[in-house]
């Protein structure tokens, strides 16, 4: 009974809130006001039902927390997905299926689909790169897109002035990204938390403003056009062929990123990053050089952004500062947070969801930010650890022989 009353209240409240939006429609050309009373019913009914769902979900969550607390060792029972993922046999099969799908993708679907996929993959790499800085080392970076811009402009300018090719610029972009990461890293070594976030935000703004206003250098807001696409042994590819080619390059980059970040995560360096995130003072007291560790996290995170920036410039053949706004940084950060900080699979899923969903749900494009916001809020309430939470490596000891299984 109490629940019914509450739900009724909720639906009335939402009817009131959405009244001007859903019911009243002013037709300015004919000076008419349309009243769509049916909508009240829909809004009321849907929120009535939704509030039940909401309450059920909350109760579920609390029950789970109680169970975790009363449990012997406080261990949360592994989720079904986790159990599935840990099945080695299934994992291999899934991996092959995924690989096959990924490889035939550009031949099955049209160029448009491939293009969308490329941009999603770009965000996968960006997410994984930022994951190093934010997810592993715990350094909140709100200006990640600056490094992306560095990479993109590095290729665009080098290509424009010196005619350097894509493959030469790819490592150069990565190196430049890393260098800028270091440059940003040095002054903020001593900062933490909010202060750090603000400085990174400022850094991104500086980069963007420089690109916009230093016209002699960066051609200002008009950007740089006619950037070369990647060449394949001097072959001239048409747009479709070139898209397919870029798609495969991107797949290669993603795989490279996954391997590198996966290995780093469970290495001496990766552990130092996580320790730094967990407790800075204890970390230093255990003999870890904070400056070096922080700088390496920044540089390495930035390095991926620089690299994929080169590819971005090559893909779009045109770049201008408008592509590198704060919004991009926010989306990349959302990918990491939504996917699950520190978790590679989580970040990949997060990128796919956040980038592909809006593409395929064009019909709802007006409500995009609304859905985005709602998804974020729901996520933070019900799964603050992200879609797939990071699980630390387990070691097995058989006469002190360690066999490690990566997650």
């Amino acid at each position: 009974m109490k629940n019914l009353k509450q739900s009724l209240g909720v639906s009335l409240w939402f009817i009131f809130l959405t009244f001007p939006l859903m019911v009243v429609k002013v037709n300015t050309s004919e000076q008419l006001v349309e009243w769509r009373w049916m909508n009240i019913l829909w809004v009321g009914l849907s929120f009535f039902i939704l509030s039940f769902v909401w309450r059920y979900a909350l109760a579920q969550k609390e029950a789970r927390m109680m169970a975790a607390q009363s449990g012997q060792d406080g261990q949360v029972k592994p989720s079904k997905i986790r159990v599935l993922l840990e099945n080695q046999d299934l994992r291999v099969k899934l991996m092959f299926a995924l690989m096959a799908f990924v490889l035939v993708f550009p031949w099955v679907f049209d160029t448009y689909q491939s293009t969308i996929m490329i941009s999603a993959l770009i965000y996968v790499v960006l997410g994984l790169g930022l994951n190093i800085t934010v997810g592993l080392a715990g350094l909140l970076d709100l200006g990640y897109v600056a490094f992306f811009a560095v990479g993109a402009y590095a290729y665009a300018l080098l290509n424009h002035h010196f005619g350097l090719g894509f493959w030469t610029c790819l490592p150069l972009g990565a190196a430049l990204g890393g260098l800028f990461g270091m440059l940003l890293g040095f002054p903020i070594l001593r900062l933490r938390g909010d202060y750090l976030a603000i400085v990174t935000l400022g850094f991104a703004s500086i980069v963007k403003i420089v690109l916009e206003n230093w016209s002699d250098f960066s051609f200002g807001p008009s950007g740089i056009a006619n950037i070369d696409r990647p060449s394949l042994f001097g072959l001239d590819l048409d747009i479709a062929g070139s898209t397919t080619y870029i798609y495969y390059i991107m797949i290669g980059l993603v795989i490279l990123t996954i391997i590198v970040t996966g290995r780093l995560k469970n290495s001496r360096i990766g552990r130092a990053w996580i320790a730094l995130r967990e407790d800075e003072i204890a970390c230093v007291a255990m003999g870890i050089d904070m400056a070096r560790t922080k700088l390496s996290a920044y540089a390495l995170g930035a390095c991926w952004a620089g690299m994929v920036g080169v590819l971005f410039a090559a893909k779009t053949t045109f770049i201008n500062p408008a592509s590198f706004t704060f919004m991009e940084s926010a989306i990349i950060l959302s990918i990491v947070v939504l996917g699950g900080m520190g978790s590679i699979l989580g970040v990949i899923l997060g990128a796919m969801i956040l980038i592909l969903m809006p593409e395929y749900l064009r019909a709802f494009s007006e409500y995009r930010m609304l859905i985005f916001g709602a998804a974020m809020v729901l996520m933070m309430i019900f799964r603050p650890q992200g879609i797939i939470s990071n699980i630390r490596q387990k070691y097995e000891f058989k006469g002190l022989k360690e066999k490690s299984e990566n997650v």
Binding site: L264, R271, I274, M286, G287, Y395, E402
Partner: protein
Amino acid sequence: MSDTAKHVLLEVKGLTMDFGGLRAVDSIDLTVTAGEIAALIGPNGAGKTTFFNCVTGIYTPTKGDILIHPKGRPTRRVNGNKPNKVTGLGMARTFQNIRLFPDMTVLENVMIGRHCRTRTGLLGAILRGPAARKEEQQIVEFSYTLLEKVGLAEFANEYSKNLPYGAQRRLEIARAMATEPFLLLLDEPAAGMNPQETAELDALICRIRDVERMAILLIEHDMKLVMNISDTIHVMEYGKKIATGTPMQIKNDPKVIKAYLGEDADA
């Protein structure tokens, strides 16, 4: 601890630490010799933890010298060295309020301690060559052995935040030991422990001295523990050192009784 009993490992001379107008530590002289368990006691706010923080490099002392004489290595003055440098030189510490890495496994916590004794870099970690793999293997084995020594091997793959309190304390000691120090500094290792856990800790600390051959300097309020295991006790009050001696001497020192044990001399 027979032939090396007189080898001085840590020598602190006239150590002074000011916070603004407050003199938290006032010209303290203190030595720790090889193979001994030294205790630093004193009422709350006497400056014991500040002293620790100065020695381990978290604070840079205002005045005085902190000299270390590790066996087989040259004497060094460590004032103002960064904490990680000090740990690298061979002095590792634990914290009064436990500072583990909660979202890492127990084993990984100890593995962090190996950081300053290993050298795989970024490139090594990415390429994972034979040298890197061998080193990683050694880190795991070393850490696991340490966990066995402190009796935490069965929890190796648990998250450290899920450990019971006493075990977290022992894990912190294991983590410090992983850096292979010549001197272990323990800041109130028995705080919040029940009598049984304290007794276990007692045995553990003695084992560390006798088997691992590490000298120990500890801050502790549990008088029973201090009197049981210490070879030397240093007493601080209001930033000054007021007494040094064996447990027997300290127990009977009128100054100490007045300052610290008060009228109710329960020790």
